[in-house]
C-alpha cells in the first residue's frame, strides 16, 4: 500500500505542485492549508510523513511542528519543513520544535524523493 504523506501548505498552487510531484513518485497525499488543520489531520489520519510549510496563516509551521511532536499520538511521524532558497531557515528553531529534515523550494521531484526516502524506505 502506498505511503500517505500529509502536505501542509497555504498556497494552493504550490500545494498542487507538491501533490503532483508526490503522486508521480508513487505516494498518496492528504492536504491541509494551515497549521491548525495540519495538526488536526495528523492526529486523525496518522500519515507516514508530513511536509510542513513555514509561513502560513492561523498557525505557522514551527508551531504546528511543535504541536505534532509534543502529542503522543503523532510524535513518531517524521516532519520535513519546506523553506525557500535564501529564506534563512531557522535551523536551530526547527530542530528545537522537533523537525526531522527540510527541503528548499522550488520543489523538484528529485529533492522530494531524496529527502523522503531517508524516512520512508521504498518498499
Amino acid at each position: 500500500m502506498a505511503k500517505v504523506i500529509l502536505i501542509v501548505e497555504d498556497d494552493p498552487k504550490n500545494l498542487t505542485l507538491a501533490r503532483d510531484l508526490l503522486m508521480v513518485s508513487g505516494y498518496t497525499t492528504i492536504e491541509a492549508t494551515d497549521g491548525e488543520q495540519g495538526v488536526e489531520l495528523a492526529k486523525v489520519r496518522k500519515p507516514d510523513l508530513i511536509l510542513m510549510d513555514i509561513m502560513m496563516p492561523k498557525m505557522d509551521g514551527y508551531t504546528a511542528c511543535n504541536a505534532i511532536k509534543t502529542d503522543k499520538a503523532t510524535r513518531q511521524i517524521p516532519v520535513v519543513m519546506l523553506t525557500s532558497i535564501g529564506y534563512e531557515l531557522n535551523k536551530a528553531l526547527a530542530k528545537q520544535m522537533g523537525a526531522d529534515g527540510y527541503i528548499t523550494k522550488p520543489l523538484t521531484r528529485q529533492k522530494l524523493v531524496d529527502v523522503i526516502s531517508q524516512f520512508l524506505p521504498t518498499s
Binding site: 498552487k13 498542487t16 505542485l17 508521480v24 509561513m55 535564501g86 522550488p106 520543489l107 523538484t108
Partner: protein, 481 residues
C-alpha cells in the same frame, strides 16, 4: 582670620627694618652723647681740681701764717666734703707735715696729686698736697651713660610698640580682611567684597579688587547662563537626534519587515512557476513538442533568474540594514577551495574549459574563523562569473597562498576581460559590463557587490585586474588569517 604680626609678615618686616635703623641711630647717638658728657665731666674735674687746690691754699695761707693749726685742720677736714678729694696734707715751710686729713671712703690708689706752695707777703710759709680721686667722676660718667642708654632703649621700645600698634591697625588688619575675603571667594561664592574704606593704598586696592570681583561675578553669571542655555540646547538636540534615530530604526525595521514579507510573497508564486515548469519539462504528464520544450526551458531559465535576482536583492538589503550576521566557524581553506570547484566543474566541463588549482603548501591544514556558507557564495560568484565570461576551451585558475597575515585567493580566467572603467565599477550595484558572451543569461548585477560586502565583513579586501578586453581578468580577495 587675623594676620599675626610675625617676622615673615609685611608688618614684621617693616617694624624690624625701622627698629634696626632706629637702634643703629640710637646706639650711635648714645655713643656720641656719652662721649660728650664724659669730656665735659672730665673737663669740669680738671677745672675743679685746680680751683679747689687754689681756693684751699688761699684760705689756708692766712691761718697757717698765724700757726693756728687747729683752724687748719678744721678747714681741710671740711674741704674733704668735696667729692673728688681723697686726702689733704699740709706741710710747713721746712717741709714738715703739720696736719693731714683722709677721706676713708675713697680708695687711695690712682690719685692725682696737686702740690701748692702757700705764700704770705711774698714768702713761702708752707705747702699743701691734695690727692684727687677720679672715682667719683668715673662713677658719674657711668651713671650718666647708663641713664642715656636706658632712656634711649626705652624710647626704642616705645617706638617699636607704637609701630606695632599702628602697623597692626592700619596694615595688618586690613590685609587680614583682604586675605580672608580672597580665600573665601570661589566660583560658588563670587558675591563677597572686601570691606576696607580707608583712603590709603589698601583702600584703593580693595576698591579696585571689589570692582574686579564685580566684573568677575557678572562674567561668571553670564557664563553660567550661557552654559545652562547650551546644555538645554544640547539636550534638545540630543532628544531630536534620538527621535530621529528612533524614527530611522522604526523605518529600518519596517523596511526589513517589508522586504522579508515581500520576498516571501514574490517567491511563493515563483516557486510554483519554476516547480510546474520543471514538471512539464520532465514530461511526467505527457510529451512536449520541440517548440513547447524550448519555451518551457526559457520559462524555467527566466524563473530561475528572477529567483536569484530576488535572493540577491534580499541578501544585499540584509547587508545594508546590518541584518546579515556572519555565522563564524572554523573553515579549512583547502576544503573550501576544492568544494567550490565542484560546484563549477560540470559547467566548465560542458564548455571544454580547464580548471587549474594552485594551493600553496603552507595552506595545508590552515583553518580560519569565517562564515563557510558565505565564503562558498563568494567563491561560487567569482567562479561562475569566470565560467560565464570565458569562451569555450578557456582556462579558469584558482590560486591561493599566504602573504604575511593574509590569505590571498586569485580567481583568473582567459575570458573577455575588462576595460579599466569596468575594473572600477564592477563592484557597484546593477553595473553590467559592455561585453556579454552570446547566448549567456545576463547576471543580476548584484553578485559582485554582495561578494565585496561579504569579503569586507570578514575584514578582507577584493579587487580585479585586467590587461584589457579579450585578455582575461583576475579577481583577488584577501582574508585575515
Amino acid at each position: 582670620m587675623k594676620e599675626k604680626l610675625r617676622l615673615k609678615t609685611i608688618g614684621g618686616k617693616i617694624i624690624l627694618s625701622i627698629v634696626i635703623v632706629i637702634a643703629i641711630g640710637v646706639l650711635f647717638s648714645a655713643f656720641i652723647v656719652s662721649q660728650v658728657v664724659k669730656d665735659q665731666l672730665e673737663e669740669k674735674y680738671e677745672v675743679d681740681k685746680v680751683a679747689a687746690s687754689e681756693s684751699l691754699s688761699h684760705s689756708l695761707a692766712p691761718v697757717l701764717d698765724l700757726y693756728d693749726y687747729k683752724q687748719v685742720e678744721l678747714i681741710i677736714t671740711s674741704s674733704l666734703t668735696y667729692k673728688n678729694i681723697a686726702y689733704i696734707t699740709v706741710f710747713d715751710k721746712g717741709g714738715m707735715l703739720i696736719v693731714s686729713a683722709t677721706e676713708q671712703n675713697i680708695s687711695s690708689e690712682d690719685l692725682d696729686l696737686e702740690k701748692y706752695e702757700m705764700m704770705s707777703n711774698g714768702t713761702v710759709i708752707g705747702s699743701i698736697e691734695v690727692g684727687f680721686s677720679r672715682e667719683y667722676i668715673n662713677e658719674q660718667i657711668r651713671r650718666t651713660t647708663r641713664a642715656i642708654i636706658f632712656g634711649l632703649a626705652g624710647f626704642l621700645i616705645l617706638v617699636g610698640l607704637a609701630l606695632f600698634i599702628f602697623i597692626n591697625r592700619f596694615v595688618m588688619n586690613p590685609l587680614g580682611v583682604f586675605t580672608k575675603t580672597v580665600r573665601e571667594m570661589n566660583s560658588e561664592n563670587l558675591s563677597l567684597r572686601v570691606n576696607i574704606y580707608s583712603e590709603d593704598e589698601l583702600g584703593t586696592l580693595a576698591g579696585n579688587f571689589n570692582r574686579m570681583a564685580e566684573d568677575l561675578e557678572k562674567a561668571h553669571n553670564e557664563l553660567q547662563q550661557w552654559s545652562e542655555e547650551l546644555e538645554e540646547k544640547v539636550k534638545e538636540r540630543t532628544r531630536q537626534f534620538q527621535e530621529a534615530v528612533q524614527a530611522a530604526d522604526v523605518a529600518n525595521r519596517a523596511k526589513s519587515d517589508f522586504l522579508s514579507s515581500m520576498s516571501h510573497e514574490l517567491r511563493t508564486p515563483l516557486n510554483a512557476v519554476i516547480g510546474f515548469s520543471q514538471v512539464l519539462q520532465e514530461q511526467y504528464f505527457g510529451k512536449l513538442n520541440e517548440k513547447q520544450a524550448e519555451y518551457m526551458s526559457d520559462i524555467l531559465d527566466s524563473g530561475q533568474h528572477l529567483l536569484s535576482l530576488i535572493n540577491d536583492i534580499l541578501d544585499l538589503s540584509k547587508i545594508e540594514a546590518g541584518k546579515m550576521e556572519l555565522e563564524l566557524s572554523s573553515v579549512k581553506i583547502k576544503d573550501l577551495v576544492e568544494s567550490s570547484l565542484v560546484m563549477i566543474k560540470e559547467k566548465a566541463f560542458a564548455h571544454g574549459s580547464s580548471l587549474d588549482i594552485h594551493t600553496a603548501e603552507d595552506l595545508e591544514g590552515l583553518e580560519i574563523m569565517a562564515d563557510e556558507r558565505r565564503l562558498k557564495q563568494v567563491m561560487f560568484n567569482l567562479l561562475s562569473n569566470a565560467a560565464k565570461f570565458t569562451p569555450d576551451g578557456g582556462t579558469i585558475t584558482v590560486e591561493s597562498r599566504k602573504e604575511g597575515k593574509e590569505l590571498v585567493i586569485n580567481v583568473s580566467d582567459t575570458g573577455i576581460g575588462l576595460t579599466p572603467e569596468d575594473c572600477e565599477k564592477v563592484f557597484e550595484e546593477f553595473y553590467q559590463t559592455g561585453g556579454v558572451l552570446k547566448g549567456k543569461t545576463p547576471g543580476t548585477g548584484l553578485g559582485l557587490p554582495i561578494t565585496r560586502r561579504i569579503v569586507e565583513m570578514h575584514g578582507g579586501r577584493i579587487w580585479v585586474e585586467s590587461e584589457g578586453q579579450g585578455k582575461g581578468s583576475r579577481f583577488t580577495f584577501t582574508l585575515p588569517v
